[in-house]
């Protein structure tokens, strides 16, 4: 028999930023697998319990765990002493066997035997009531959750993100007797704060969700784990943030009704605000309000940040996505009795906040942005890496390297680059950025323009922190992208150079994000940003050189580590961009040049394009066969010195001579096609070797005992293999899986 199990951990308001982790939404970092469902699964499997599915739910005041189909009995098996110790020569149980049986509450006659790799041992098999197991397991499930910060609130020694005030814990209709800290589990829950804070009984697991619905307590749902699947491989496909999506739809509808829209593009800021609003209310309700149009003279980003940071309000953009409307959307808790008064109160606070922002704007713009640059001497970038001021010449140098690799004309002007580098960090010492750190760059862009800097420079400064996340938009101008790239490469080479690269889940300087942004800029819009000729290797090298003696690790090490790091991000990004593509295709395109992120991306897109059409797919697979057979041999001989050039006079077998003849014809054609980037034609040419190569391996034993013969044959195969692997992709590993 199985039943459903429910646990509700009633808390004082939990931080909104903790809840995605609680619901196991986090993919990376210290809190991946730190949620309630994954903690429960790990405890349950430890205890051998049998269940159908585990799912978590949450609001700011309650964390809920639902285990469906939990079996009433839990089977246990404990291994005891070896049979040789447990029974004497006559086969009678010894005292060791008796003691072991007693410890597990069994008569000696119930002990069985089991063969282990070491010896045959006695075994106690018994079953426990799951209710008994749960009494122990529940506190462990709660303790197993991971929060960024925990606290104490009484002398019980319990730690949690905020105080735990009640536990509702039911197996079917039965209360599980357990406790966490000083709180004992019962069959009662508390409703919203607006309702009288009187505990309400819940008679069964199934009634609970009905009660929540009736009280309009919207639970956000976490992942659902089913047994047999590793939770983290399938987790995110099933992740459906229902409540968050519902809220987004409600906000979008309201914005539309105001003839506006919610955001200009999917930005990191919007994502943060939506998540915060979702997790800040048990029953989120959207209301609109407005502010005085005179404040629209302030930059829209400042108004939006001020409303978002201080009041968690959503801005409403005009249809063009650039200007703001003098409106806002508030997400309130439940349905306050006087909603009009609530929005009127919000409007007063907005006025005060905007008047503060105006104060900062006026103070900051009394002097041109240039006047702030000197103050950067006092701003520490990192104690091992000097000041922000010292970054200026390095960023300038990196910009010059990028310019070299770009297809834009040199006439664009080196002075422009120098100006960008000099001013891009100056806003760090403004009052506005001190108040709104998330506006760094954006504020600099406005102040640069106000100070009379050119449109190009101002825009580049304004967008050089983008992209801030995987989904955040890229800079909109080439110069903005270049500046972003130079900024990131300077930081990455610096941190890596003094041994501060991310380890495991710890990434305190957000270098993964910085690197991912660099990779996105390099790959996503390489043509638009004229970056097609840029070598990332040379960029890294220039970055390392410009740090000079400050770096403590050898340049070679930094170069290799950073290259590998960027490749890792590249692979992740490629996996996201092409979800269906197998990893073997992603790996294949790296062979021509392991530092060429841009080329690899271009080749990957082409290759995946070929695979879509059945005919060109066949061409790829034919070529892959050639690569596979030649590649296997080359790898098999990896211990041997294979140098020099092919000596055709050493060939003996007719098939060998025939293959060589065909190759002599094909090779120049292939080179020409590859040089012109006609990859599909090149693959077709290459594939023509499949039959001759097949015939070759039927007759020729490459790894023969004659060394000169062997090396000559290997040289030939290597030449064939490299012809494709060295220019387009190493297809030798793709065939099996394709």
């Amino acid at each position: 028999m199985s039943r459903n199990f429910l646990l509700e951990v009633g808390c004082e308001e939990l931080p909104s930023e903790d809840l995605p982790g609680v619901l196991d939404w986090e993919r990376e970092g210290p809190r991946a697998a730190g949620g309630l469902a994954s903690s429960a699964v790990s405890v349950l499997s430890d205890k051998n319990a049998v269940w159908k599915s585990v799912q978590s739910f949450a609001t700011p005041r309650r964390l809920v765990l639902l285990i469906r189909g939990l079996e009433e009995k839990v089977c246990r098996e404990e291994k005891g002493p070896p049979v040789s110790v447990a029974y004497d020569a006559q086969g009678r149980p010894t005292r060791a066997a008796e003691a072991f049986a007693r410890r597990h509450g069994l008569p000696v006659s119930r002990l069985t035997r089991k063969q282990t790799p070491k010896a045959e041992v006695v075994v106690a098999r018994y079953s426990l009531a799951v209710t008994e197991v749960l009494a122990q397991a529940v506190p462990q499930m709660i303790e197993g959750m991971v929060f960024p910060k925990t606290m104490r609130w009484d002398d019980s020694g319990a730690r949690f993100a905020r105080p735990v005030r009640w536990l509702l814990c039911l197996f079917g209709k039965k209360v599980i007797a357990c406790s966490f800290g000083r709180v004992k589990a019962g069959n009662k829950t508390c409703l919203t704060r607006r309702a009288e804070d009187k505990p309400v009984p819940v008679t069964s697991v199934d009634r609970y969700f009905g009660l929540m619905k009736k009280e309009r307590i919207q639970l956000e749902q976490g992942i659902r784990i089913t047994p047999g699947k590793e939770p983290f491989t399938h987790l995110f496909k099933e992740q459906v943030p229902l409540k968050k999506e519902r809220l987004q739809k409600a906000l979008e509808a309201k914005a539309k009704a105001l003839s506006g829209r919610l955001y200009p593009a999917a930005s990191a800021e919007f994502e943060w605000l939506l998540s915060t609003a979702t997790f800040l209310a048990e029953d989120p309700v959207v209301r609109e309000g407005s502010f005085e149009a005179k404040y629209l003279a302030l930059p829209p980003e400042v108004l939006a940040a001020s409303m978002a940071k201080h009041l968690k309000l959503f801005s409403v953009y005009a249809a063009d996505g650039k200007r703001l409307l003098p409106k806002f959307l508030a997400v309130l808790e439940g349905r306050p009795g006087k909603p009009a008064t609530v929005t009127a109160n919000l409007e007063r606070i907005i006025e005060a906040r905007f008047s503060d922002a105006s104060f900062f704007y006026e103070e900051d713009t009394r002097q041109p942005l240039e006047a702030k640059v000197e103050q950067l001497r006092g701003v520490v970038f990192h104690e091992k890496l000097g000041t922000v001021y010292e970054r200026i010449p390095r960023i300038e140098k990196l910009l010059a390297v990028i310019l070299e690799g770009s297809s834009l004309s040199r006439g664009l002007g080196v002075p422009l680059l120098a100006r960008m580098a000099r001013l891009c960090k100056a806003d760090l010492v403004t009052q506005m950025v001190r108040e709104f750190p998330s506006l760094q760059g954006v504020v600099g862009g406005y102040y640069a323009k106000q100070s009379g800097e050119s449109e190009w420079v101002s825009r580049a400064i304004g967008e050089h922190y983008r992209p801030k996340s995987f989904s955040d938009p890229l800079p909109g101008t080439p110069l903005g992208s270049w500046l972003s790239l130079a900024d990131r490469l300077d930081a990455l080479t610096g941190y890596f150079g003094v041994g501060l690269k991310p380890t495991g889940s710890a990434d305190p300087y957000a270098l993964r994000r910085a690197a991912l942004g660099a990779v996105r800029i390099l790959t996503d819009e390489r043509e638009a940003f004229s970056l097609t000729g840029l070598s990332v290797d040379s960029l890294i090298r220039a970055g390392i050189e410009s740090w000079g003696s400050r770096l403590t690790l050898p340049a070679q090490v930094v170069q290799e580590e950073l290259q590998a790091f960027l490749k890792e991000r590249w692979l992740w990004l490629a996996g996201q961009a092409h979800p269906g593509a197998g990893g073997q295709w992603l790996d294949a395109v790296w062979s021509p040049n392991p530092g060429d992120l841009i080329g690899a991306w271009r080749r990957l897109e082409m290759l995946l394009g070929f695979l879509k059409n059945p005919k060109s797919r066949e061409t790829v697979l034919r070529a892959a066969k050639v690569a596979e057979r030649s590649g296997r041999m080359v790898r098999a001989a990896s211990g041997e010195e294979v140098r020099g050039s092919v000596d055709a006079s050493l060939f003996q077998e007719p098939v060998e001579k025939e293959l060589w003849r065909q190759w002599q014809e094909l090779s120049p054609v292939l080179s020409g096609q590859l040089a012109r980037s006609e990859y599909l034609a090149a693959l077709a040419s290459y594939g023509r070797l499949r039959e001759p190569l097949h015939a070759y391996f039927e007759k020729v034993f490459v790894m023969g005992s004659d060394q000169a013969q062997r090396i000559n044959r290997l040289l030939f195969l290597k030449e064939i293999h490299t012809a494709m692997a060295g220019h387009f992709a190493d297809l030798s590993e793709v065939a099996q899986d394709a």
Binding site: E12, E13, L14, P15, S16, E17, P60, K149, M151, R152, W153, D154, D155, A161, R162, P163, R165, R182, R193, R194, D197, L280, A281, L311, K312, L313, A330, L332, E333, P336, G337, K338, T341, V342, N345, L346, R348, I349, E351, A352, R353, S355, D356, F359, Q375, G378, V379, V380, V429
Partner: protein, 285 residues
């Protein structure tokens, strides 16, 4: 039926005094020195240390020079009043008690939007931190609510709950005023009548007229004195010098006279004093 008239500023304070006195709090008095928050009051800082139970409530005027806006901002000022409550150990129903106190002031919780918004509170100068919330009433932060975890760099064996009411903001809310200077202090006078001119002058002093050289000297002298007094085991005088150093630091900060590099060093200096004061207090207890 007409609703009862909203509370005046002074009536608001009297209600809170009554409410928390009824909860068994000792009603303390403001400390007679400049400080940035009620947390600096010895009835908070020292009493949160150690294991003895403690309940207190009092008004504390606060000085935050950088928050000054020449009386032109409806919500911020360089000098204002906090109402501070310390409950040690923190009772299980502390949130409900707080909500009850708001109802007692005439806040209709069902009509409005009240939210506990996470706040990881930290005072780097006092070596103190705790977790809790900003309490928002229709988006206005009216209270800071904290479970102290550490004070003076010491892990607290008994957790105190600190409730800090922003008196002006609650009064604005209750009276429906758009500007803190428009708050009715009593039946006749407004908050502005008492404090507007003061605020303008304090801002002019803090931002324009104060002498950074003098402030720096004040900082260094107070700092040096505090260390000497600690050696002589004169605890409260040493702590008062810490308060003076902290205030001088805030004055320097308002003048933009603390470089970004120097800031962490100066703050760490004060924190170190706070730690030594805390340790000296615990030794006595």
């Amino acid at each position: 039926m007409t609703p009862p008239p909203a509370l005046t500023f002074q009536e608001l304070i009297l209600r809170l005094e009554r409410f928390w006195a009824d909860q068994g709090c000792l009603i303390g008095q403001p400390y007679d020195m400049e400080m940035g928050a009620g947390t600096f009051h010895p009835l908070t800082f020292f009493k949160a240390l150690g294991t003895s139970p403690w309940k207190t409530a009092f008004v504390q005027p606060c000085r935050r020079p950088t928050d000054g806006r020449y009386a032109a901002n409806p919500l911020r000022a360089s000098r204002y009043y906090q109402y501070q409550v310390i409950l040690k150990p923190s009772p299980e129903d502390v949130q409900s008690l707080y909500l009850k106190s708001l109802k007692g002031l005439g806040v209709d919780l069902a009509a409005h939007d009240l939210r506990f918004v996470q706040d990881d509170w930290e005072s780097p100068t006092l070596g103190a931190w705790g977790l809790g919330w900003e309490v928002w009433l229709d988006g206005l932060e009216v209270t800071q609510f904290t479970y102290f975890q550490q004070v003076g760099g010491v892990d607290l064996p008994v957790v105190s709950a600190e409730i800090t009411y922003g008196l002006e903001r609650i009064a604005m809310f209750l009276q429906g005023k758009l500007d803190l200077y428009a708050i009715a202090w009593n039946g006749d006078l407004t908050y502005g009548d008492l404090h507007r001119q003061d605020e303008v002058e304090l801002c002019r002093y803090n931002f324009e007229a104060s002498d950074p050289v003098v402030l720096r000297r004040d900082f260094e002298e107070s700092f040096g004195q505090a260390k000497k007094l600690l050696e002589q085991e004169l605890l409260l005088p040493a702590y008062e010098k810490l308060l003076m150093a902290s205030h001088a630091f805030n004055g320097l900060d308002a003048r933009g006279a603390v470089s970004v590099n120097e800031r962490p060093t100066l703050i760490a200096g004060i924190r170190n004093l706070a730690k030594r004061c805390a340790q000296a207090y615990l030794k006595r207890e």
